[in-house]
């Protein structure tokens, strides 16, 4: 395979060179344990402090409200279980949505087995929740609203500010999974009344295996990982020093260049959408037309199935993703596509192409040229397609 075109930036991103360079010394030279008091330890500690302040700056938080984790999933688990168990005396009701990432959904399901009650809010055809439904779902036993900032499949961005205001007004903790939003949307945890927020480095050109949880000062929360006194006694374990340094740098780069990034990926994204919609029949475009992640394009092609589409693209070096059942060996298409009401047979033909900083117009044009041919070839093989 010569040419490879990566259009799966929502799954993960390549690390930027600047991030790698910032990390490198911490593997072999400045490798100390940040808890050690000798010079190796102190320089490690300093590096972590710097990363923490970069993260804090990126989201308008205070430095001591940032906690590093082993990834976005750990942050989600920690926020939800931690708040649930620490506030059980106040209530056992949690509100979330049907379109959360599995790190949120499966955590909520686990809590349901342990006596918590969870309301899963519906979304409309664009993947938007209804603020009225949210208001109505709140009871005096509600202790947590956990509601994703931006959806990883269809890209829809929720009205986080309004949700935060409702939560604040009712005195309920508000957690948002901002794993996809960070670096793609301007975020200010205070303006948006966010109490807890999950982040992940590998979605913003940083390293895999590092995440962060913003915890507003005063939030009552249990630890998920007990042990040493790291992270102000809240998250034990020797810090992933190079990873945290990389996360700090990636966050800094993301915020510095937020507008440029958004413009770049959005332009290419719109070019892609127009190209495909013009050239292919029987295709739907999913997610919200405006309130969506700038780099996210999500299609459903009728009469064909997602995995065979992905494989065909892959043979041309084009990397995309799908919410189709058959890639997962499970019967149902993704819960997100079901929640927006896409019929099963159409949901199976879905394709997510997500664009990033390294994507070029040539790559997009190549996809616009090749994808319709692939769709046509597969449709010719499909018993559902009659023309």
């Amino acid at each position: 395979m010569n040419k490879r075109i990566y259009l799966d930036y929502s799954a993960t991103t390549p690390m930027k060179q600047e991030v790698l360079e910032e990390m490198l010394p911490y593997f072999t030279e400045r490798f100390g344990n940040p808890s050690s008091i000798h010079s190796f330890g102190r320089e490690a500690k300093q590096a972590i402090d710097q990363a923490r302040s970069r993260l804090a700056k990126a989201i308008g938080a205070k430095q001591d409200e940032i906690y590093f984790t082993g990834g976005g999933s750990e942050a989600d688990n920690w926020a939800i279980k931690g708040v649930a168990y620490a506030n059980r005396d106040k209530g056992n009701h949690i509100i979330t949505t049907k379109i959360e990432h599995h790190a949120v959904l499966h955590t909520c399901e686990y809590l349901e087995k342990d006596g918590f009650e969870v309301t899963y809010l519906d979304v409309d055809e664009y993947g938007m929740i209804s603020l009225e439904q949210l208001r109505n779902a709140i009871t005096d036993r509600t202790i947590l609203i956990t509601l994703m900032f931006a959806n990883n499949e269809i890209g829809t961005i929720q009205p986080i500010g309004e949700i935060g205001a409702i939560a604040r007004e009712k005195g309920i903790y508000f957690h948002t999974d901002a794993v996809q939003a960070l670096g793609n949307v301007k975020i200010d945890v205070n303006a948006l009344n966010i109490d807890l927020m999950s982040m992940s480095a590998h979605k913003i050109y940083g390293p895999k295996g590092v995440g962060g949880l913003y915890i507003r000062k005063g939030v009552k929360i249990h630890s998920l990982i007990h042990g040493g006194a790291q992270e102000r006694r809240r998250r034990a374990g020797t810090e992933n020093l190079p990873g945290i340094v990389g996360f700090g740098k990636a966050a800094e780069l993301a915020i510095e260049n937020l507008d440029g990034h958004i413009r770049h990926v959005k332009d290419l994204r719109d070019r892609l959408i127009k190209g495909i919609m013009d050239k292919v029949d029987y295709v739907r475009f999913n997610g919200h037309p405006e309130n969506r992640l700038p780099g996210n394009a999500h299609f459903a092609f009728e009469f064909i199935e997602g995995e065979s589409l992905l494989l065909s693209l892959d043979m041309l070096g084009i990397a995309g993703s799908s919410g189709s059942a058959c890639t997962s060996g499970s019967l149902d298409p993704s819960h997100v596509l079901m929640a927006i009401g896409l019929p099963h047979e159409i949901a199976h033909g879905s394709l997510r192409l997500t664009i990033g900083d390294f994507t070029t117009a040539e790559e997009i044009d190549y996809v616009i040229n090749e994808l319709p041919k692939i769709v046509d070839r597969l449709r010719q093989m499909s018993p559902l397609y009659e023309k």
């Binding site: 995995e307 043979m315 919410g323 059942a325 890639t327 298409p333």
Partner: protein, 147 residues
């Protein structure tokens, strides 16, 4: 993930299409589940002289359909009835665990088409007495997480 054999049959599927006035037509799976296989047989003197398929489904569904048609073409009905999903899997140099059910689908598509032929021609094929293609054919292996 897939063997070269699978990818070959997926990218260059043999015997794609339909047969007009086919002697037997089999259809298994359903669109809701994301997989439909439709198989057309032309049978002369108990021999499958032509076979075509159309498949809506994953890469492995397309590859198993393709190789299954190759495996029964030119064979007698009795020989075709012996086609098992294991044989299909072997012929493809293996399939990932969560894709085994596609091979089951292929076996069932062939059998459905033969059953259809038998019904139309008022023959009894004892081998198909216990055949119920509508049963859930999905065997779930490990799930992959889309990130």
């Amino acid at each position: 993930m897939y063997s070269e054999k699978v990818m070959d049959h997926f990218m260059n599927p043999r015997n794609v299409g339909e047969i007009e006035n086919a002697d037997g037509i089999g259809e298994v799976g359903n669109a809701k589940c994301g997989d439909i296989m439709k198989m057309y047989l032309k049978i002369e003197n108990d021999v499958i002289v032509d076979v075509k398929f159309k498949t809506f489904g994953c890469g492995s569904a397309i590859a198993t359909s393709s190789i299954a048609t190759e495996m029964i073409k030119g064979k007698t009905i009795q020989e075709a009835l012996k086609l098992t999903n294991q044989a299909v899997v072997e012929a493809l140099d293996g399939l990932p665990p969560q894709k085994i059910h596609c091979s089951v689908l292929a076996e069932q598509a062939v059998k459905s088409a033969l059953l259809d032929y038998a019904k139309k021609h008022h023959i009894t094929l004892d081998e198909l007495n216990d055949f119920h293609p509508d049963e859930d054919h999905h065997e779930h292996g490990e799930e992959y997480e889309e990130a």
